[in-house]
Amino acid sequence: MEDNLLKTCLYDKHVALGALMSPFGGFIMPIQYTNITDEHNAVRNAAGMFDVSHMGEIFVSGPDADKFVGHVFTNDIVPMKPGDILYGMMLYPNGTTVDDLLVYKEFEPQSYLLVVNASNIGKDYEWLCAQAEGYDVKIDNQSDIWGQIALQGPEAEKYAVETLGLADAAGLGFYTYYRTADMIVSRTGYTGEDGFEIYAPHAVINQMWDTLLAAGVVPCGLGCRDTLRFEAGLPLYGHELSDEITPLEAGLGMFAKIKAKDEFIGRDALVAQKEAGLTRKSVGIELQDKAIPRAGYPVEVDGVQVGIVTTGYRSISTDRSVCVAMVDKAYTELGTQVEIRIRKKVFPGIVTKRRFYETNYKK
């Protein structure tokens, strides 16, 4: 089976470091190098780096690019300046989610970079091409060309400037980026900490990995990438979002601009869903017990299932058993008492916000 899995340009580095390798999104990826807890804490307290070369890079350009990206993307790109980045989704006409992604407004007019989830690269590319009929745009999937390192944590800026020599990284605002001759340097991440996502060709990425490793940046696997993003309240496609979940249900309505925009694919369905009222919504739940809620476990009230856990952990940063769950609307008020079925027992929990850790983004 592993023969069919793709390898990132840093695969040999992971193997040499003795990483536990596992399939993710069609790639064979490092889950951990030492252990998830130490790697998680390195990102919270110092700096860690992730190989996120599996992410997809799709470039959209051409005379109709502004119009086309506005058509397929839920967020409002009109106010964007070159070098700005926006988070949002692509939706099906029924309002459920094709993917969540970052849109980078490039420095040439009518030009964008769409950064999409590894598991959805093929689907997204086909989706974009299918929507492009009647638009004069070029859709260029360059996912195979670009590697990517996420340098994350309170010391990320120090390493970017001093170790990598990226002087301009210091002044870079949150959700903005700049380009060098062979790099895209972006003040973004998926951890709840300050940090950068750096895109470059494979050879440059390999050199950068070695340089950061030698400087003491902790290599971090996808295991802690998930615990970090979860604590920070960030969704993962396939869990909090999917082709059965709308952004409104996921609590991500602020990224789907049904008021500011009068058209995008899925907008009508979201307007109708909002008018009719949601039937379910994504919430946080905290357990009093140490038992750990996991994805797929039922949420119950009086023995009746009212929802399902989408991600759950014993939170490393807060040492509490918490989860995000999709729950019937009647049980989504903060403070609502619910129960989670964990194997043979049920454990009482309380509905909370979906963010369990105070994020430390650079403003």
Binding site: N35, I36, T37, G223, I292, R314, R343, K344
Partner: protein
């Protein structure tokens, strides 16, 4: 290399059994704790729970995943190791010194269906 202890019985689901009279002392093997990584929670049965051979009685959980525990013999839980409630990492430190539960066996002949240390090592070598 995961270690084993001579004189214990081993299950295919990576539990060990130490026999004292008609009581089976049950834990997870070194191979199992190593495969799971750092443990953060042990879901234990309650005293007086009646278990069938092969029945799920709890789980050990790492950051990433839960792994069910199966009782190798039928019987009644007479004691659980409460120290694991606050210190699941004891299983990582020494999986054989830290038992999970003691079960009063219904039928000690069920032990004959389990493996000895050599057979268990051979099985692990193939996993």
């Amino acid at each position: 290399m995961a270690k084993t202890v001579e004189g214990l019985y081993y299950s295919e689901s990576h539990e060990w059994v130490k026999v004292e009279g008609d009581v089976a002392i049950i834990g997870i093997t070194d191979f199992a704790q190593h495969a799971m990584g750092d443990l953060s929670y042990v879901d234990m049965p309650e005293v007086d729970d009646e278990l069938e051979a092969g029945e799920e009685f709890g789980a050990v959980e790492s950051v990433k995943a839960a792994s069910d525990l199966f009782c190798p013999v039928s019987g009644t839980v007479v004691e659980i190791n409460e120290a694991l409630e606050d210190a699941p990492e004891l299983l990582n430190e020494d999986a054989f010194a830290n038992w999970i539960m003691k079960v009063k066996m219904n039928d000690p002949s069920e032990l004959e269906g389990l493996m000895d240390a050599a057979a268990y090592e051979a099985m692990c070598a193939n996993e």
